[in-house]
């Protein structure tokens, strides 16, 4: 018993140390930045000091309703990620199952992955109007390729011996998919979903900024037009918060769906 609780303590230690170290590093960078700006190494009219940014939090929360904007952008990101997960993984499965489609499209999808699809926003405006739907679709479409490609990669790199185990137990093709290929591919699929989520968020905030509509992107746009730099950076901190929340949530889901490291 005693040994076990000792082991538990050590376990907590091992988890806590990296987190504390990360926070310490962040703090060090912030302090360094503050010093560099105060002593004039960095122009404070271009980069506001961290203290000024922190000071503007209250203002953007109360005056600019950053809370509801955060929720809006978060909701759009959630919508895009949900679409990504459903359609990206389905396309990935389709590509894995149908050789012809895979050979015909894999290179194209890889090429699209690196194309700046944000530039297509006028087309999306025409189709979906100046609405949250445009923003969600933009995020979804530009983030689709990594999810498809990672799903395909995960499924095709399942160790053949695991598939043979399934065949030797006479699994039906759908059992083979659900009980073996899918769980085996899940870690790779999650890499794809996380990558896609990053793509989606960049595009969502970018389009909000470009069409001056919606959540945090629009706020960043407005504040920078007013030359309120501390406010702009404070708003960007909330964008980062969206991504942090998504990362934590996907990690939890992955652990739950596929235990055993």
């Amino acid at each position: 018993m005693a040994a076990q609780s000792h082991g538990g303590n050590r376990f907590i230690w091992q988890q806590a140390v990296p987190v504390l170290f990360g926070i310490a590093c962040l703090f060090a960078v912030v302090v360094l930045l503050e010093i560099l700006i105060r002593f004039g190494f960095i122009n404070r009219f271009i980069v506001p000091t961290p203290l000024d940014i922190v000071g503007s939090f209250g203002r953007i929360i109360v005056d600019e309703h950053v809370g509801s904007r955060f929720l809006l952008t978060f909701g759009e990101a959630l919508g895009a990620t949900a679409l990504l997960t459903v359609f990206g993984i389905s396309f990935g499965v389709l590509l894995h199952r149908v050789r012809l489609i895979r050979l015909a499209t894999e290179t194209w999808i890889a090429a699209v992955a690196s194309a700046p699809l944000v530039l297509m926003y006028p087309l999306f405006l025409v189709i979906f109007g100046r609405s949250a739907l445009t923003i969600i679709m933009m995020g979804f479409v530009s983030a689709l390729p990594p999810v498809i490609l990672k799903t395909l990669e995960g499924l095709s790199s399942t160790r053949p011996v695991l598939i043979n185990v399934g065949r030797s137990f006479k699994l039906t093709p759908s059992q083979l998919y659900w009980k073996i290929l899918f769980p085996a591919a899940l870690p790779t699929i999650f890499v794809g979903v996380r990558l896609g989520m990053i793509f989606a968020l960049i595009n969502i905030v970018g389009v909000e900024f470009l069409i001056n509509f919606g959540g945090l992107g629009q706020l960043v746009n407005e504040l920078s037009e007013r030359y309120d730099l501390p406010g702009t950076y404070a708003a960007i901190c909330f964008v980062i918060l969206v991504s942090v929340v998504f990362f934590i949530v996907t990690e939890r889901i992955e652990k739950w769906l596929r235990p055993g490291a």
Partner: protein, 288 residues
């Protein structure tokens, strides 16, 4: 040549009646692979059969077609000549009576030990409580009690191989096929696991076909040993091991054991050296 051997499996303790109806018939199997350098014959007209309760080992040098034969008998590979019969039925694809333990590590890393072992029962549609109960029994049988809730990443290689073994045993196959299940293990673990297999085989009267290139292991465990030639894989000799049962790893020290090992080693050495020469010639060939 791989002529037809008189198939009189001597299953020491079993009745003579059982011996008349073989559980597994391998009839004139021939398999060649098309490769970039032309066709390679992996299995060349191999025939034998396995009686109920019998333990047969197939031994031969690396690359002689043992895994190919294993996959054919398991119904995982087709495009061969000849046929396989399991309990009188001609094999087409994987058969419910045939359980396979693979050469490579094959546990499911996302399932705990007990869930790995319960896998075939889950597929068979058994209720959760019942299948976990059954699975625990097989986990115990391979000596992994206490590790039920661990994941494979938390186990040693030998323990994982035992999980695979328990998983296959849980499906209660009539015939157990094993492809070098201990190949990746050290000698001590190998001997101890060999004991475990012996004990399980004697407890369950499990008909078993073991593929190996380890001579000690083959003699320790088998009723008969099929020695195969180096490429193309033909039958060189069928050796009957008339050591008393029940056996344990202690038998390895006995004179009779040494006699069998020496006899089979003679055959194997010839084939293994052919393999080496072949490899050297090949390397010489590519260098030019």
């Amino acid at each position: 040549m791989g002529g037809t051997m008189p198939s009189n499996p001597s299953v020491g303790s079993d009745s003579a009646g059982a011996a008349t109806q073989p559980l597994l018939v391998v009839d004139d199997i021939y398999k060649q692979f098309e490769t970039a350098e032309g066709p390679v014959v992996a299995v060349d007209h191999v025939s034998f059969d396995v009686a109920p309760g019998e333990f047969l080992s197939v031994i031969g040098p690396s690359g002689c077609g043992k895994s190919t034969l294993f996959n054919i008998m398991g119904g995982l590979l087709d495009g061969y000549d000849g046929h396989i019969k399991v309990a009188g039925e001609t094999l087409r694809g994987p058969h419910a009576s045939v359980g396979m333990i693979f050469q490579e590590e094959s546990t499911f890393p996302w399932r705990t030990v007990v869930d790995n072992v319960a896998f075939p029962l889950e597929i068979a549609g058994m209720a959760k409580a019942e299948r976990l109960d059954r699975a625990r029994h097989f986990v115990e049988l391979v000596g992994l009690d206490g590790f039920e809730r661990r994941y494979p990443s938390e186990l040693s290689g030998g323990m994982r191989q035992r999980v695979s073994m328990a998983r296959t045993l849980a499906s209660e196959p009539k015939i157990l096929l094993m492809d070098e299940p201990f190949a990746a293990l050290d000698e001590q673990t190998r001997l101890l696991l060999g004991d475990k297999v012996l004990q399980i085989q004697q407890d369950l009267k499990q008909t078993t076909l073991l593929i190996t290139h380890n001579l000690t292991e083959a003699v320790q465990l088998s009723d008969r040993i099929l020695v195969m030639t180096y490429r193309p894989g033909r039958m060189k000799r069928m050796v009957e091991i008339k050591l008393p049962r029940p056996r344990s790893s202690e038998i390895v020290g006995s004179d009779a054991f040494g006699h069998y090992v020496a006899q089979i080693w003679n055959d194997l050495r010839e084939e293994a050296s052919k393999g080496l020469k072949d490899d050297e010639a090949r390397r010489g060939g590519t260098r030019r």
